[in-house]
């Protein structure tokens, strides 16, 4: 979205369905530079570490550990590699699980080609990509009344962050959110990154319970 026709992010595909990988490659076309693909956790980690793509398009459901295992295998050695989770599953545990492992965003597999290319570019630029559904999950997770907390800054969303998430869930693109809240698009981005940060680092009591209820931990 930022610079149409600009640079092409180097992308690596991890999905155990050959059909889906070729579908994604075809849909993305020239928008990105696909540097490799893998269908299983071990091979994926090895090849990602070798080729160092900017963005890894990661299927949440993989045999032997799932997308989470790939993130955990790559990040300690190559923290600059960014992950965008992709899944047919709308189950909260899958989504939150892979985000908490370190993915920078989550989109569903029904996303259109141009939208996916845009999401990839944004992740490559260091932004965070929240789908409507992910925003809904996060609101849900942080919605319960705040319990006793070690670190209130981490364990609660600010009113502004909630507003941003709510607008994302309502289907607003970042630009429209900025307009609605009378802030800059950059600020929207900051709020979303902050939410992601909290989501990954918070050990908020309610979040833990919420996750446990959904068998995350």
């Amino acid at each position: 979205m930022t610079e149409p026709g600009g640079r092409r992010p180097r992308v690596f595909l991890v999905d155990d369905h050959e059909l889906f990988r070729s579908g994604v490659r075809a849909e993305l076309g020239d928008a990105v530079d696909v540097v490799g693909e893998a269908s299983e956790v071990g091979a994926a980690i090895e090849m990602i570490l070798e080729r160092r793509p900017e963005v890894v398009l990661l299927d949440v459901h993989l045999p032997a550990g799932g997308g989470r295992a790939v993130v955990q295998g790559v990040v300690p050695t190559a923290p600059e590699v960014r992950f965008l989770a992709l899944s047919v599953s709308d189950a909260a545990e899958d989504v939150i699980g892979v985000i908490r492992a370190g993915a920078r965003g989550y989109v569903t597999k029904t996303i259109s080609g141009p939208e996916l290319a845009d999401a990839i570019r944004r992740v490559a630029d260091g932004d965070v990509v929240f789908s409507r559904r992910l925003a809904g999950f996060v609101l849900d997770a942080f919605a319960a009344s705040p319990g006793p907390s070690d670190d209130p800054d981490l364990d609660q969303l600010t009113a502004r962050e909630q507003e941003v998430l709510r607008l994302i869930a309502r289907g607003y693109p970042y630009k429209a959110i900025a307009k609605e809240l009378v802030i800059s698009a950059r600020t929207v981005e900051t709020h979303v990154s902050s939410v992601l940060h909290k989501l990954q680092l918070s050990n908020r009591h309610d979040l833990t319970r919420w996750a446990t209820e959904r068998r995350l931990i």
Binding site: A143, R166, A169, R170, G171, Y172
Partner: protein, 412 residues
């Protein structure tokens, strides 16, 4: 029958082809030239009458060689002291033991009782001795078929074996019942409660001994049969579902390959349906429906009717009461409007339940319109949405800007 033992043993052999227990009756019948059944009835009658039949039978069994062999069991046992001797000794010691036990507790037993009991014991011992691996399995098969006459007739070669085993069981039961009956009759048992109990125990014990393996096997069979039935029913259900939905849809998609919009709609609907079937199986309990589920369903319906993709995201939830139902109906109308008029391909529906208030946002990024310019006689928005919400104590806001889509906000 008594005269047989005096006949030359060379011609008298235990039959291999016509045997119930040891082939004695069959052999005798063949040697004499009468029907084996007559001999058998005579043996059973003699047994029941006083025990001599069984005794004679066992003696003949021991002394008569089997067809095609030239040594009787007794001869073989005395010559090579093989396993037959061991078995005979074992049986004999069991019987002797039982006999001694009976005598030791013999306050209630006269010697007239010992004979039938002894014979019953021999009968049972022989039954169990006879039931070798092969025999035992055919024995079980026969007994198992008994209560299930509906099963397919068995192949011919097995039939004879089975009949033999069946007869064996019948004979065993007759021996037990006969022995116990004689015991009761000889000891005036019907007057004594204690002996009545004993008699019952004897009968039950005998029956259990004879049919025990059958019940065990039957229980196991029933359990495995039930497991198998459950499995196959599950498979049938999955197959039926796949056929009804997925295969049909795939066929439709092939036929409509030149209409991308229709294909997308069908694929999407099928996906939702399959997903619902796979992951939300247990949620279609009537009466347990919630706002989120109802909205999702409304979204699917509208999607099916009007082609646009409708994505419902819900945060929090509440049971579907009248007010929530009104909310869903209004939201559905808003979805229809968005799908029909906006021209946008995706409609975002967001529901949120917070502090007892439910809000639903229906957003599209399509054509939009000028709310002030809508003619008063256009019913859709006014009546279906705004008035409906007001009637149920809720509110509805419609925000739209030409070119930037429309958002309907509903609160209740």
């Amino acid at each position: 029958m008594t005269s047989e033992t005096t006949k030359p043993l060379r011609r008298l052999r235990r039959s291999r082809s016509d045997r119930v227990l040891g082939g004695v009756c069959g052999g005798v019948a063949a040697a004499v030239g009468i029907d084996a059944l007559v001999v058998r009835v005579a043996v059973v009658a003699l047994t029941v009458a006083g025990g001599t039949g069984a005794l004679l039978y066992v003696v003949a069994w021991l002394l008569l060689p089997e067809e095609g062999k030239d040594r009787s069991i007794a001869q073989a046992a005395s010559v090579d002291r093989g396993k037959d001797l061991g078995e005979l000794l074992a049986i004999a010691s069991i019987v002797l033991g039982a006999l001694l036990l009976v005598r030791a507790t013999g306050i209630w037993f006269s010697d007239a009782l010992v004979w039938p009991l002894l014979l019953a014991g021999i009968g049972l011992a022989v039954i169990w001795r006879q039931a070798g691996d092969e025999d035992r399995s055919s024995f079980l098969r026969v007994v198992e078929r008994l209560p299930r006459p509906g099963t397919a007739p068995a192949p011919a070669p097995d039939l004879r074996l089975r009949r033999a085993a069946l007869a064996r069981v019948v004979l065993g039961v007759a021996l037990v019942v006969g022995g116990v009956g004689a015991f009761l009759a000889a000891s005036d048992a019907f007057s004594a409660v204690r002996q009545g109990v004993l008699a019952t125990a004897g009968i039950v014990g005998g029956l259990a001994l004879i049919t025990g393996p059958f019940w065990v096997r039957m229980g196991r069979d029933l359990a495995s049969e039930r497991r198998q039935r459950i499995r196959s029913e599950e498979r049938a259900e999955v197959a039926a579902h796949l056929h009804d939905s997925v295969l049909q849809t795939l066929a439709l998609i092939q036929r409509n390959a030149d209409d991308p919009r229709a294909v997308v709609t069908m694929a999407r609907r099928q996906e939702r349906e399959l997903r619902g079937w796979l992951f939300e199986n247990d949620q279609d309990v009537p009466g347990a429906e919630t706002l989120a589920a109802a909205l999702a369903r409304a979204g699917e319906e509208v999607e099916g009717l009007h082609g646009a993709s409708i994505d419902v995201v819900a945060v929090g939830d509440l049971p579907l009461d009248d007010r929530a139902r009104a909310l869903v109906a209004a939201a559905r109308e808003a979805m229809v409007n968005a799908a029909k008029w906006s021209g946008d391909e995706t409609v975002s529906v967001y529901a949120e339940v917070r502090d007892g208030q439910a809000s639903v946002f229906v957003r599209d990024w399509g054509a939009g319109f000028d709310p002030d310019a809508v003619a008063a006689d256009r019913h859709g928005v006014r009546e279906s949405i705004v008035d409906r919400m007001h009637r149920h104590g809720g509110q509805a806001f419609v925000r739209s800007t030409p070119g930037e889509g429309t958002e309907v906000e509903l609160r209740i």
